[in-house]
Symmetry: C2
Subunit: 413 residues, 2 copies
């Protein structure tokens, strides 16, 4: 057994407490109780403090205290519910809300990042040097930073900033459904370099067997600076098996892979595909057309991975895993990007107008990803190799009509 | 050029004139006109004669002749519309309806089968010995014959009965959408043995390079009896390029593959997946669960192909082609199997009751395929290797509840 001889247990912190973060905290807290030899019982959840007024439709509404704002963290710890971001879901009592970022991560060997993309950098800056050097992280925030300069996987940014290894979790995962314990699946990519002797041997990149660096990736130079500190032997190994025990639930099936690049790219690129599917569906072209655009999109994902992460991204991650094909399906069934793109065609309005009217100040991930990916492809002279991604960009720019998608993506051979 | 020196042109017959058959005839008739050096101008379409009364909502309705039944074939040739099976779609004038099966196929070098599954055998019996021996066929009827005895691909049955080569066409293809020229894609599998010197060299089965037999397949013994007669050199070669010209349209994108087994299996097995997706959606479990079941189903397709057509079926046919992933998507968005399975859970009625009430005497393909596949798997002692397919069978049998799907398909590793 992997835990034999281990005297210490892993302490787990969920960094983030929004809709998805609270859902992850609930799920992980259930699992640490189920595996008491591996994990400490309390799961810390870092909460960005807010004043909250309990809404009338909440089961915790009390007319006598109706207008008194209360601290979100206290409400979570007292009511075992995040009434603002995950209402009506009872959290296990071993989820401990903590507003002190550094304190919440103190001595934690497992950090689960579930923050909006834009806060990741700042939070890592605050944590730098304040965590145990042998901690490991998993990023549940999807995405990549793409620009003309190159592509940086979000988990690589986290790993680099904190000088620790960071994997990724992504899948067809609408948080509210998982919080209700409705069945779903996810993909966890975890592939630390082999210098961590008890970690799984990477099957992926030939280069990573030579260099004991964090997230080695040929495409992002300057990232190989930090050396990974091995996990002390008193801890149970963070094998695929034990990582799976942290996330897998009867209602949340986990598949472990080593392809960090594929998992990260899937979570970002699917939003471009969802826009394309929305445009075509908005034309009233039916299910054949929508399925065709989704299929072409999945193949452009595969091609993108092969072109820019040749040594790490696998075809099967996109075509067979929850983070690939299944997430594309979910996003194209009713996701936000899909819905807004569809409305924009149906109403003859720009997607920016739809965004403003429908999203309450929130921003579409798909449009920014489409622009960033296009800038990157342009810089490589490779727009023509990704006709669907490029078409979505040109539609957003008003230079192409959705009706032209078939002729643009028609195979030339 | 492949046509250089060819004095003869290919004569094309579409065997069938239902919704899908008439749509194929329209599409192929457009293409023969676009490629006059390759194909004869007239496309024969075999029509099973019926008396038809023009309905009131038809643009061809004439109150003076309102109650006079007319011959379907004559209506097609006079009005250039199949008012019964594809109303309101104008057919090219080079589609010639012909009620004489043997005459419609006389001298045709390309036979396109688009018949309901149950009529294929009888039609082939009538055609046997009456067609040119060097004819080639494509089956647009999806499916396989599965029983305890084994699996026979429908195109193999056709090829064997007629002693000719038969490929397969399958994809995310709702006929009515294609008839309206709404964008879609399809997959054509065409891989005649190499003895036809100008045919594409099969990349698939090592055995087929040694034996010049029709559709060699290890799993179906007794099928290698007929030898293929080479296409006379006066005809343009039936290369992938030229087959593509017969089917590809700006609104109907064709990908050619050599994997006849994969294309045929995809068209059959997707119906079991659609039932599973319907059951889960009927529970109100949301989009994560539906996407998960679809993903698991695609992987069981892959596994089925590998287990029983190891030398021919390719993973990529299921995960990357229109006949695989895209057809699964379309079928699980609004297909008949999906809808009936969903209704059966929502209303708490058996799928047989739903079938009777909702389908006007038509039968669900998915239920019979689920039973046949289960009988076959049982005979091999392999039910446990295909937990989703097996779960669908047990749900149909009333021995399992849809709610149990997650625990049944939960990976054990």
């Amino acid at each position: 057994m992997a835990t034999l001889g281990a005297q210490k247990k892993h302490k787990v912190t969920v960094v983030g407490s929004g809709n998805w973060g609270t859902t992850m905290a609930k799920l992980v807290a259930e699992n640490v109780v189920a595996h008491p030899k591996l994990f400490e019982e309390k799961v810390q959840m870092w909460v960005y403090e807010e004043d909250v007024t309990i809404p009338k439709d909440s089961r915790h509404y009390n007319s006598e205290r109706a207008d008194q704002p209360q601290k979100l963290s206290q409400l979570i710890n007292n009511l075992h519910e995040n009434i603002k971001y995950l209402p009506n879901i009872t959290l296990p009592s071993n989820v401990i809300a903590n507003t002190d970022l550094v304190d919440s991560c103190k001595d934690s060997t497992i950090l689960i990042f579930v923050l909006p993309h834009q806060f990741i950098g700042k939070v890592c800056d605050q944590l730098k040097g304040k965590i145990v050097p042998y901690a490991r992280a998993i990023s549940c925030t999807k995405g990549v930073d793409v620009s003309e300069k190159g592509i940086q996987l979000l988990c690589e940014s986290i790993g680099k900033k904190l000088s620790i290894y960071c994997g990724a979790l992504s899948g067809a995962n609408i948080a509210s459904e998982i919080a209700k314990e409705l069945y779903s699946e996810t993909t966890v990519a975890y592939d630390p370099p082999p210098m961590d002797s008890r970690a799984p041997t990477p099957k992926v990149s030939p280069s990573s067997s030579q260099v004991d660096l964090i997230n080695p990736s040929k495409e992002v130079p300057g990232q190989r600076s930090a050396r990974l500190v091995p996990l002390p032997t008193e801890y149970p190994a963070l094998s695929h098996e034990n990582i799976r025990k942290l996330f897998h639930r009867p209602y949340f099936h986990v598949r472990l892979v080593s392809d960090v690049a594929g998992v990260s790219l899937g979570g970002a690129l699917k939003n471009i595909i969802a826009l394309a599917a929305g445009f075509v569906d908005g034309l009233g072209w039916g299910d054949n057309a929508k399925a065709a655009v989704m299929r072409v999109g999945i193949l452009e994902m595969v091609k993108f991975g092969k072109a820019f992460f040749a040594e790490s991204a696998h075809t099967s991650t996109f075509t067979e895993e929850s983070c690939g094909v299944a997430d594309v399906i979910t996003s194209c069934m009713g996701g936000r990007n899909f819905r807004c793109a569809k409305m924009s065609v149906e109403r003859g309005e720009s997607i920016g107008e739809i965004e403003e009217k429908e999203l309450n100040g929130q921003k579409l991930q798909g449009t920014s990803t489409a622009y960033e990916v296009n800038a990157f492809l342009k810089s490589k002279g490779m727009e023509g190799d990704f006709p669907l991604f490029t078409a979505v960009y040109h539609i957003l720019e008003g230079k192409l009509k959705p009706e032209q998608i078939p002729e643009i993506i028609e195979p030339k051979d």
